[in-house]
């Protein structure tokens, strides 16, 4: 029998991965929508983007809250350490999320064609992944100080660390790559050729920085956290699979065919890398303060949460499938006829 805390962190990690994908699509779409308007190409893709995003933008946000509430619930110590240390960066992320979410609604359901709203929407799409990635950097250890029971963030170490900047860079370029490859697929489903052409160039363009940033972050991680790096090296086959899927995605994009498969490869590429990273991090949630076993909540609560997970997923999965059927795989909707 696997322990409840291990189930907890596994499910949470899967959810974080889910957020990574859906939020990347959303964040990147915001940026591309703005970029396209700035370069006067918005007539090509903006209708396509808003057609996809309008029914699902709210769901994306819930993924994030879900992960966040889950981790605090399963590991209350993380609320103490991360909460204390992340007061400022966390609040900035909240503000960016707030601007983004509400301005999306203002622009899309309220007053159309407001460039200021669109700019804020696009710009925050890149700043949010950057600010959220700070939490990931912190987990590597060395950026939090604890003195006399007061937990604080070591800003100087954080801002002067090449690791933290390489993670920020990785977050941003991954967002753009994931998003562009999804939207390429979506455009191909809609048989919207001009949009497809433009989005395909975006996807091709952002593929190279993604792999470079991943390598850079990996190298800096080896200098910062030897243990984590070694653990990941032991999982070399997962990393190799990730690179394999990346090549596969690129091949399909380059040959301009089977965009659905290309996007699935992108998803698998990130899945492998994300799990190699996560498993390598074990047993720490925050190096060296919180471990999965030491920081877990009481058994009764842990089990209650796992049961709630299962019950909740029984409701969520059919509902999400319904959303996919109605808005992603319904050819008439995608083409704009409904």
């Amino acid at each position: 029998m696997i322990s409840y805390e291990l189930i907890g962190i596994t499910v949470l990690w899967i959810f974080l991965y889910g957020y990574l994908i859906v939020a990347s699509i959303d964040f990147g779409a915001g940026f591309f929508a703005f970029y396209a308007r700035a370069t006067k190409q918005d007539h090509l893709i903006n209708r396509l983007i808003s057609r996809y995003l309008s029914p699902v933008w709210e769901i994306t946000n819930v993924f994030f809250v879900f992960f966040f509430v889950g981790i605090v619930g399963f590991f209350p110590d993380s609320a103490y350490y991360y909460g204390s240390a992340l007061l400022v960066p966390g609040s900035i992320a909240i503000i960016l999320l707030a601007i983004r979410g509400s301005f999306y609604a203002f622009e899309n359901y309220g007053s159309k064609d407001n460039t200021t709203y669109l700019f804020l929407y696009g710009a925050t799409g890149l700043l949010i992944p950057a600010s959220l990635s700070v939490a990931l950097t912190l987990s590597e250890g060395g950026f939090i100080t604890e003195q006399d029971g007061v937990v604080a963030l070591a800003y100087f170490e954080l801002f002067s660390s090449p690791l933290s900047w390489s993670i920020v860079a990785l977050a941003i370029v991954s967002v753009l790559f994931i998003s562009a490859s999804f939207l390429t697929f979506y455009a191909s489903r809609a048989r919207d050729l001009p949009a497809l052409k433009l989005l395909r160039t975006y996807a091709m363009f952002w593929s190279t920085p993604t792999i470079i940033a991943a390598l850079t972050a990996f190298i800096y991680l080896s200098q910062h956290n030897e243990r984590h790096f070694q653990n990941m090296m032991d999982l070399w086959w997962l990393l190799a699979l990730s690179v394999g899927f990346y090549m596969c995605a690129l091949w399909h994009l380059y040959h301009a065919r089977r965009y659905g498969l290309a996007f699935v490869c992108v998803m698998l590429q990130f899945l492998c890398a994300f799990f190699a990273y996560g498993i390598g991090h074990y047993p720490y949630i925050l190096d060296p303060y919180i471990t999965i076993q030491g920081g877990a909540t009481h058994e009764s609560m842990g089990i209650a949460l796992v049961i709630a997970f299962i019950g909740g997923l029984c409701l969520l999965i059919p509902s999400l499938i319904l959303v996919f059927k109605l808005f992603l795989f319904d050819a008439d909707y995608v083409k704009g006829r409904k």
């Binding site: 769901i59 209350p76 509400s102």
Partner: protein, 454 residues
């Protein structure tokens, strides 16, 4: 320094919550109104009601957006601003917090589907069925989050050992003594407020632009809901008062400025306190407090003197309590008056003064919700978890919280103002009658003649 950050932490959380509660109330209340309107529309085959559901949904989405982002803010702020609280209480309250997110998830999914599937199903009831998960999701998320607040007022479901909660029973913590009355009161008042808001909008339209079928149907439908839920809210309030008298007597005593424990206690309305803490200029209803608290005019009500002075809530909560309850009765009175006039004078006659009263009721209802929450939260001072964790032990020690307060204040001002501007723009140049005729044309039916001046 330490104390200072506590005050600012309280202000920051109070600010976020009082902003969020406006949109949260709309978020809980309006879906039910949309569901009712669409159902009536399908049932009566009356396109006016369908249009109501459509227009309300369009406005609703804008306010949901603000509700979602402020809800995200408060979810994160709980850990960011109150890290010690979450570390300690997270073990006991994680379950309802988690289930709240599930309920919300559910609502978010179906709201997206609902908005983009008008006219997509042949049977109109299928589209209407989509409102049910939205209404349930919204109601359940309010219910779950209320149990968290209930726990902070009436902790249970654990044993305390050396400053840590052990032997945790999450279900027992959720079903604490405070939860049922709180959940009842929150839901009833949210539906009341949602209906009062829509009734106010309809009344405003009639007052400014004259009578129209659409506005009058909408007004009548919403006023009947106002009447129903104002009665239910009053009952819920009575249940809550009886709960307080039994389990949290200091909160009720602070609201009523009830200092000495006595039998046959008077209910005090308004007034002020002089330097000797004597009640001046107040209306006294003899023995009513005993009746309110225990359903018996001669019951003994515990006074504030029974509690240590460092565990007393601030006495200002008296005004909040009075405002909340007073507005509740005003809303009920306006609804009764509306139906009385409707019965007496027949359908078409609507008094301008009554319309004005209905319009004013809408903001008053929100004010009442705010005052009720202020009373509930400030009345719990000085405790974060009543009896276990004091507020000053739970707050963050970071001085940045002062700066963040002003940053969030700015954010909420911008969001609030833009939300109003966008909503106005959405409806102003697109009155219901215009949209109605367009709607009928789209359906390829002949437009029907409008009644009234516009």
């Amino acid at each position: 320094m330490g104390m200072d950050t506590v005050l600012w932490s309280r202000l920051l959380t109070g600010l976020t919550l009082s902003f969020h509660v406006i949109f949260a109330t709309v978020g809980v209340g309006i879906p039910l109104m949309i569901a009712i309107a669409e159902f009536v529309g399908i049932r009566k085959k009356d396109a006016h009601y369908i249009l109501m559901a459509k227009r309300w949904t369009r406005g609703f989405v804008i306010s949901v957006a603000v509700g979602v982002v402020t809800g995200t803010a408060i979810a994160l702020q709980l850990s960011l601003v109150w890290p010690n609280f979450m570390q300690m209480a997270g073990n006991v309250i994680a379950l309802p917090l988690f289930m709240e997110v599930f309920a919300f998830f559910f609502e978010a999914i179906f709201l997206g589907i609902y908005m983009y599937t008008w006219d997509r199903f042949r049977n109109p009831y299928i589209h209407w069925l989509l409102t049910i998960p939205i209404v349930i999701g919204a109601g359940m998320s309010a219910l779950f989050i209320t149990t968290v607040n209930g726990f902070m007022n009436q902790p249970g479901g654990f044993i305390l050992e050396a400053g840590h909660f052990v032997a945790v029973n999450p279900i027992e913590a959720m079903l604490n003594a405070a939860s049922p009355s709180k959940a009842f009161h929150v839901l009833a008042s949210a539906y009341l407020t949602g209906a009062a808001l829509l009734a106010g909008i309809a009344a405003l339209t009639i007052l400014k632009k004259g009578k129209s079928d659409y506005a009058q149907k909408s007004l009548k439908l919403m006023m009947s809901i106002v009447l129903t839920f104002s009665v239910l809210t009053a009952i819920a309030g009575d249940v809550s008062a009886k709960f307080l008298a039994k389990h949290q007597p200091e909160k009720l005593a602070a609201a009523e400025w009830h200092f000495e424990t006595e039998r046959g206690a008077d209910l005090i309305l308004l007034g002020w306190l002089n330097a000797e803490r004597e009640v001046m200029g107040a209306l006294r209803i003899p023995k009513a407090l005993s009746f309110l608290a225990f359903g018996d005019f001669d019951a003994e009500v515990t006074g504030l003197e029974e509690f240590p002075s460092d565990e007393l809530p601030p006495l200002i909560v008296h005004y909040m309590f009075d405002a909340m309850a007073g507005i509740g009765f005003v809303l009920m009175g306006v609804a009764v008056l509306y139906f009385a006039l409707l019965l007496l004078k027949k359908r078409e006659e609507i008094n301008r003064w009554l319309l004005r009263a209905i319009i004013v009721s809408a903001p008053l209802a929100f004010l009442s919700v705010e005052m009720g929450w202020f009373y509930a939260e400030i009345g719990r001072q000085p405790w974060m978890i009543r009896g276990y964790l004091r507020v000053e032990e739970a707050a963050t020690s970071s001085p940045s919280v002062v700066f963040l307060f002003f940053l969030f204040l700015l954010l909420y001002i911008v969001l609030g103002v833009l939300c109003v501007i966008v909503l106005r723009r959405l409806f102003r140049n697109n009155p219901a009658d215009l949209e109605f005729n367009k709607y009928l044309q789209d359906k390829e039916l002949p437009p029907i003649g409008k009644e009234g001046s516009n």
